[in-house]
């Protein structure tokens, strides 16, 4: 299951979304997260969904692929949906099952919240699917640069992020390997009572941590011997270029915000 999950992965391709400036994409996604909260009726969500659909098209990825890859996240969303459905207690009772009542507001809330969640997951996935981790970090560092004036550690933060991102696949591989090694020694993580399963995690976690610390130490040494001394005066090998399409993408967001606001406040 883990190997099929696409959340947080990068898929190399040549599309408009892939070629966009990572800064534009970061602003785009964060702004989208804010803007989606303007929508509060069916039309608002239909428009936001259409906007998301167009964005997916721009990335050259197929919608089917995205949906199947995000299945594990979808389960989480379905769970939120049910939670909302059963626990919101406003408006008229629509359905009375005796032990539980479903309210009009519950349905509304459940639908809107899960819709919002879904669109957010799609958009953020689009960001990571079309941008290499290293460009995301470069973009973030560049966006945070002005904050250096107030002593904000933008470079260090970006470095930490890129190291973390770099090691996620390594850790996943390692988890898989150690899990198999312990399974070969008779550990059983997928059946039996919960207590035993939790116990079976220890032989997995300890080697993982030990290796992670060892690797961190090696990496620190390797950086030191190569003369790393922070971001001071460091120039970039990969330069970022802001193009017309980046401006257009952000303008389309402004348009989306305006339309959603119009629906919410005037129509």
């Amino acid at each position: 299951m883990m190997e099929k999950m696409i959340f947080g992965r990068y898929i190399p391709a040549d599309s408009i979304a892939h070629r966009m400036d990572p800064r534009a994409k970061l602003i785009f996604v964060f702004a989208f997260i804010a803007i989606i909260f303007i929508a509060n009726d069916v039309w608002g969500y239909v428009i936001a969904a259409a906007f998301t659909y167009i964005s997916v098209k721009m990335s050259g990825l197929s919608l089917r692929f995205l949906i199947s890859g995000l299945k594990p996240v979808m389960i989480l969303i379905a769970f939120t949906f049910l939670l909302q459905l059963f626990f919101a207690r406003e408006g008229n009772v629509v359905l009375d099952l005796g032990f539980i009542q479903i309210y009009e507001e519950g349905i509304r809330q459940a639908f809107f919240i899960s819709m919002r969640f879904t669109l957010l997951v799609f958009m953020t996935s689009l960001l990571t699917l079309t941008t290499t981790p290293i460009s995301i970090t470069d973009g973030l560092e560049s966006l945070l640069n002005p904050l250096k004036k107030i002593k904000f550690p933008a470079h260090e933060l970006a470095l930490m992020m890129s190291i973390a991102l770099r090691f996620i696949p390594t850790l996943m591989d390692e988890t898989d390997k150690i899990m198999k090694a312990q399974m070969a020694r008779g550990s059983d993580m997928s059946s039996g009572p919960l207590k035993d399963r939790i116990k079976a995690i220890v032989p997995l976690m300890i080697p993982l941590f030990v290796n992670a610390f060892k690797r961190a130490e090696d990496l620190a040494t390797a950086m030191e011997v190569r003369g790393y001394r922070g971001g001071e005066g460091r120039t970039k090998y990969r330069l970022l270029f802001w193009k017309a399409r980046d401006t257009f993408a952000l303008l389309s967001l402004v348009l989306l915000a305006a339309v959603l606001a119009a629906f919410r406040f005037w129509i």
Partner: protein
């Protein structure tokens, strides 16, 4: 217990955009009591293949028969523990699987998972630790205080203590010094000879394949391209080169000798001793 692979195919992340075929149409038999070596270039699918031998991976197509049990593509398997008890795998860099506070506890982990009593497991721990050439006082130490080579030995003892019928080794000597390598291989070979344990050995060392194997399986780009006794395999240098593989040093040496003297030897010598004997004979008749 024989293990029989039939048209085994394995695709990682099957039916996803990351799909990667690692093993394709592999058929061969691992006969009980023999030593089977698997050689091949890095990425040729050896490790993936090994994971099928105790059902850690299920083929995406084809079947793997392990003793009485058959693991078939597309069928749900329950209760795989008995298979894993009989087929022990020593993974590449097994020292990474150590986790317990003491060496004793770590070696006991496998046997106790398979229902061996604590008392018996401790006995086995002491016994197998000695077998892998470690002093007994190590038992009470933390495995993380040992050197890399010692950790490897402890990890191997942890698998041996399960007392499997089939022992699968994935490059067990990678990263060890030459002497450690030799000792380790000799130990496995002794177990094989003395106890009749079936050995499956993945190795990059043509010397080891030549010296220990009854049969060598050659993997290339996920397929089995050859299967032969070592003497037959290593007599065809050109063919091996096609798969990016070499021959043992002693074979190279013999070929050079043959070229310089213009005399072909009657057979390929797989070890230094064999070659020495051959030369002695040759010396008398020359």
């Amino acid at each position: 217990m024989d293990i029989v692979l039939e048209q085994v195919e394995y695709r990682y992340a099957a039916n996803s955009p990351f799909e990667k075929k690692a093993v394709e149409d592999v058929t061969f038999k691992i006969p009980e009591g023999q030593c089977t070596a698997i050689i091949g270039h890095t990425g040729s699918g050896k490790s993936t293949l090994l994971l099928h031998l105790n059902a850690l991976l299920k083929p995406t197509s084809g079947t793997v028969q392990i003793g009485e049990r058959t693991v078939k593509a597309g069928r749900k398997e329950k209760d795989l523990k008995p298979i894993r008890e009989k087929v022990g795998i020593v993974f590449q860099f097994p020292e990474q699987q150590l986790f317990e506070e003491t060496v004793m506890k770590d070696i006991c982990y496998g046997p106790m998972n398979f229902g061996v009593s604590e008392e018996e497991a401790k006995k086995r721990a002491a016994f197998w630790l000695k077998e892998v050439g470690m002093p007994e006082e190590v038992l009470g130490k933390s495995p993380f205080d040992l050197s890399g080579g010692q950790m490897r030995r402890v990890a191997i003892a942890g698998v041996l203590a399960m007392e499997p019928e089939v022992l699968v080794l994935d490059e067990p000597t990678a990263g060890l010094d030459p002497r450690g390598r030799r000792e380790m291989m000799e130990m496995f070979y002794r177990l094989h000879k003395e106890r009749g344990i079936t050995l499956v050995l993945v190795t990059h060392s043509m010397e080891d394949a030549a010296r220990y194997a009854d049969k060598v399986v050659v993997m290339h780009k996920g397929r089995k391209v050859h299967e032969a006794p070592p003497r037959e395999l290593f007599s065809d240098t050109a063919r091996l080169a096609e798969w990016g593989l070499g021959v043992p040093e002693v074979v190279k040496f013999q070929r050079m000798l043959e070229e310089k003297t213009g005399k072909a030897f009657p057979k390929v010598c797989l070890t230094m001793d064999e070659l020495a004997d051959m030369l002695k004979l040759g010396g008398e008749s020359l």
